[in-house]
Symmetry: C2
Subunit: 227 residues, 2 copies
């Protein structure tokens, strides 16, 4: 939704709204594959992810004509195609800056490695944390914040995760970009400024709750009126 117009590649033009849904399809397909399903109809898959079947078909048709009429989509094949489109078939090294509670949660989150994301660096300024080994599978050692540029350069990191307090976020963001990172995942509760060409996605945990509170308040208001 941010994403300046110029950024939108004209090559195959997949709408942003569709891109946002592709990972959801991917997730649902993985679940189906684990359950042993070989084929799935647009109707079934749509129900599983909570969209209409028409939307699902339109989304998938943007990627190509995978799927056979009269039968549906072959789970494995579709899964591969979506993975390829999302870039999940290749290896994405990433760094996480800030090893607080959230940083640890991210480092321990199992859903990364299975999707091609590999944590190659954990960085924190606190000397007490530096040296600590974190992560369930790959034991990654926390390194001092000063080595940020080294880690990024050595491993060719293109994606950086900011899990620092708000006051440190912008500085970290600038350093990441200067070192060569071009996609930022920001968990700090502020809008980070980036030069054009750099993608940012922000997730603010408190922000999501506020949206829920808004709807909840509306529900309460309506009930009062009704009574």
């Amino acid at each position: 939704m941010p994403l300046p117009r110029s950024e939108r590649t004209a090559t195959t033009a997949v709408p942003e709204a569709t891109v946002a849904r592709l990972p959801v399809y991917h997730r649902a397909l993985v679940a189906l594959a684990e359950r042993g399903a070989t084929t799935v109809s647009s109707e079934e898959l749509a129900a599983a992810v909570g969209v209409t079947s028409a939307k699902l078909r339109k989304d998938l048709s943007l990627l190509g004509s995978y799927g056979t009429r009269g039968v549906g989509y072959e789970v494995d094949y579709l899964l591969y195609q979506i993975s390829r489109e999302l870039g999940l078939t290749q290896d994405w090294p990433l760094v996480i800056v800030g090893v607080g509670n959230l940083g640890r949660a991210l480092a321990n989150y199992g859903g990364f490695s299975s999707r091609g994301f590999r944590i190659v660096g954990l960085l924190d300024p606190d000397p007490e944390i530096v040296g600590e080994k974190i992560g369930a599978d790959f034991l990654v050692e926390v390194r001092p914040l000063d080595e940020l540029e080294d880690v990024v350069t050595e491993a060719g990191v293109l994606i950086g995760v900011i899990a620092t307090p708000a006051h440190a976020a912008q500085a970290v963001c600038d350093r990441l970009i200067a070192a060569g990172v071009r996609s930022i995942m920001n968990f700090a509760p502020l809008v980070v400024a980036v030069p054009p060409g750099v993608s940012v996605r922000s997730v603010d945990l408190g922000l999501e709750l506020q949206v829920l509170a808004f709807h909840e308040q509306r529900k309460l208001g309506r009930e009062e009126v009704r009574s």
Copy 2:
């Protein structure tokens, strides 16, 4: 975007897209207030949150005509109005189910209490974790999962947070709703099914990264073509 049409209240009709931006405005205004600003123009505030000034003004005008022409918006006053609209002026008790890394991160997240959210229950099935005291300010004790219904009922909890593994999420969700919860914040990587009238917001950490990977792959593809 999910949200069935019938759900959209006709009372004052604030578009969903605007609701999603209000917390961002709120956040920026808090930062401005801390910096000592008394008034702010739509241009300034828009720049701070990364939207156009027209969009910002239109959003704010939906709430009412706060702000004086020729001057701008009074920070404190606008902050109060947005807070009220979002329901941040009242107290929202909430429970967090699943005290893993993410659950801890949420429990320790400082941004909740200042926005009216109060964690009244931490629940986990693991006996080793039960009894542990978590949280920086309010020391909340982890209680066994069986007491979910008790906690929800006693404190009148309307908002529930699911921070469990995927396989446990749907069952927890059902129990929360049965106990009286009407808004679900879901961090488990799956789409939870809920009856109509219940709001759900899902945040999948891995999902966001996949969107970034998609854009990054597009950038790489374009560079290859160019060279």
